[in-house]
């Protein structure tokens, strides 16, 4: 199978998921005995193409264009479509980032093709490539296969594969080949303006050794002090899944997950969090994960070391009492 991996970089740095997707691509190439080409695009990014060529792959394509310096869905879709039509890959793999989900469905549809997005893994069975993704907020997994002719387009979720499993190039470096695309300013309808961060983060959750994290199961803002008390007793910080911050019950800067912070504390204590993938990608690297949830099938228990099925309003006060007793 001929694979084209589309990398993502911003301001001269690769997104980490680019390497994770490279690890996936290398594994799929091994299974399907195919070839792997990576694409690095932007402006003034030749050193990045060179860096990527250290990995085991057949070729790195380097595309530089003024109109690819800043991301626009039109610019990226038009450029990538030309590359795909010229190189004719069977499978196009991309990291499932916010940027990719903004343009990849458009790119696929512009060629009359479909995209299987947000995959967490794949299986190669009897010559068939099966992509695994989640449905129902992680409560079920789904096996999805492509129908119709290639090119097929798929994206892999952050931390679905391990970047440290990327194989280095066997004989030094893969060749870097500059290619050109035809893009004109009038084809681009979006005008990208400045990138910015909101008010500086007052709390750096990535440095907290222990995190107590709350989800929908906390039910009401009046119940948050209970979780804060637990966090304080454990010597940790409080944080939350996205819906809690959407409600304004905790500030956005305390959000864990794909749109918030990625953390790996020694203890992550999830209270009433179901464990949708957007949350799990931000905390699955934690050394120890404990979770309380009333639903024994909640996906949070797939990553938890210690699981408690029950009412957190009974169990958390008991834990607080136990901690106060043994202090």
């Amino acid at each position: 199978m001929k694979i084209l991996l589309i990398t993502e970089q911003r301001e001269g740095k690769f997104n980490k998921v680019s390497f994770e997707t490279l690890a996936a691509a290398q594994q799929i190439v091994q299974h399907t005995k195919g070839s792997l080409t990576a694409l690095v695009s932007g402006k003034g990014i030749a050193p990045l193409a060179d860096e990527f060529a250290d990995s085991q792959l057949d070729e790195v394509l380097l595309v530089e264009h003024d109109l690819l310096e800043k991301y626009t869905p039109d610019g990226f879709s038009l450029a990538l479509r030309q590359i795909i039509e010229n190189t004719k890959p069977d499978l196009v793999l991309l990291p499932h980032t916010y940027q990719v989900r903004d343009f990849a469905p458009k790119l696929a549809a512009s060629m009359g093709k479909g995209m299987i997005g947000d995959c967490i893994g794949y299986r190669y069975e009897n010559g068939k490539l099966i992509f695994v993704r989640q449905m129902f907020q992680g409560r079920t997994a789904a096996d999805v296969v492509f129908a119709g002719d290639p090119p097929w387009i798929a994206t892999f979720q952050a931390s679905a594969f391990r970047a440290d499993l990327v194989t280095k190039h066997a004989s030094g470096k893969a060749p870097v080949k500059p290619v050109t695309v035809d893009l004109r300013p009038e084809q681009i309808r979006t005008k990208p303006l400045e990138l910015f961060r909101e008010a500086k983060q007052a709390v750096d959750l990535t440095q907290a050794p222990i995190l107590v994290s709350i989800g929908r199961g906390i039910k009401a803002p009046e119940n948050i002090p209970m979780a804060e008390k637990l966090a304080k007793l454990l010597g940790g910080e409080i944080c939350a899944s996205r819906p809690i911050c959407d409600e304004g019950w905790l500030p956005m800067e305390r959000q864990i997950g794909s749109s918030g912070q990625t953390v790996a504390p020694k203890l992550y204590f999830a209270l009433g969090i179901s464990g949708a993938i957007q949350h799990v990608v931000g905390m699955k690297g934690s050394r120890t994960i404990a979770a309380i949830n009333k639903d024994q099938n909640a996906p949070i228990f797939e990553v938890a070391d210690y699981g408690i099925v029950g009412d957190l309003f009974e169990i958390v006060p008991a834990i607080i009492e136990e901690l106060e007793k043994t202090k």
Binding site: D102, G138, A304, E322
Partner: protein, 256 residues
């Protein structure tokens, strides 16, 4: 401003999910359905834009007969009329097939702006807004946290990862996927619920739209996920659980 907002009906958050024997969908009998939460932010944003700039809000939902309930809820909150794209087996469509059907049903409406939620809480493909834009020949932007409309252009705040944002400008007409948390969705008032009874819902049979059934992908089966980790479940009365957990965190995991 003529605004279309796509709202999907999905299984209720706490609905027990049973996978049907063939394995590609859930058993729909005995479970409750509700409006997809991310779409309620898109609806709220549409209503606020109408309040500010005037015009009309049309709520569009594809699904079986029950999906009308989600349109009715949108009408009760303030949408002016509804379009129901009717198909009992719409869950078998792939993202492109869904979007092609929606695009065919909406094309003649010539909306200035189409809003969708970021993704659905059931299939979670997260592609509908982007695909609608491509199929209707409109520009788009996704993960939107603020909309400022001036004449025929919009200034939009897009959320990026890890706390970053970006301002972008787009011409109208356009399609936007709204990020959850952009606003506080309103509740329907009693007056709104009464008024909704007089509002029109047009039903379009999906089969009549002439969209080919060619799939680009198939969901072969759905299943309870395999566990990545061996979870040790701690059971007992709350006091016992607390004692056991603290003991394990101290002496087994050594994290306290």
């Amino acid at each position: 401003m003529k605004i279309g907002v796509c709202v999907k009906q999905v299984p209720a958050k706490d609905a027990p999910l049973a996978i049907v024997e063939a394995g590609a969908w859930i058993r729909e009998s005995d479970i409750g359905f509700e409006t997809n939460e991310p779409d309620s932010y898109a609806l709220e944003e549409a209503l606020r834009l109408k309040e500010k700039h005037g015009g009309e809000v049309v709520a569009i939902s594809m699904g079986p007969e029950r999906a009308k309930q989600t349109i009715k809820e949108a009408l009760a909150k303030g949408a002016d009329r509804g379009i129901h794209v009717s198909d009992d087996h719409f869950y078998k469509l792939d993202p492109l097939g869904s979007a092609r059907s929606m695009a065919a049903a909406l094309k003649a409406e010539n909306f200035d702006l189409i809003l969708t939620g970021l993704q659905s809480d059931d299939q979670g493909f997260g592609q509908t807004g982007v695909l609608l834009a491509e199929l209707l020949g409109r520009p788009h932007a996704t993960i939107i946290m603020a909309i400022e409309v001036t004449d025929s252009r919009m200034k939009l705040k897009r959320e990026l990862e890890a706390g970053w944002f970006q301002w972008v400008e787009l011409p109208l007409p356009a399609v936007l996927s709204i990020q959850s948390g952009i606003n506080k969705p309103r509740y329907a008032t009693l007056k709104g619920i009464m008024a909704a009874k007089k509002k029109e819902i047009t039903t379009v049979q999906r089969a009549s739209l002439g969209v080919p059934d060619a799939h680009t992908q198939h969901v072969e089966r759905i299943y309870v996920p395999h566990k990545a980790k061996q979870t040790e479940f701690i059971t007992g009365q709350p006091k016992e659980i607390a004692a056991k957990l603290v003991e394990k965190l101290k002496h087994e995991a050594r994290v306290l």
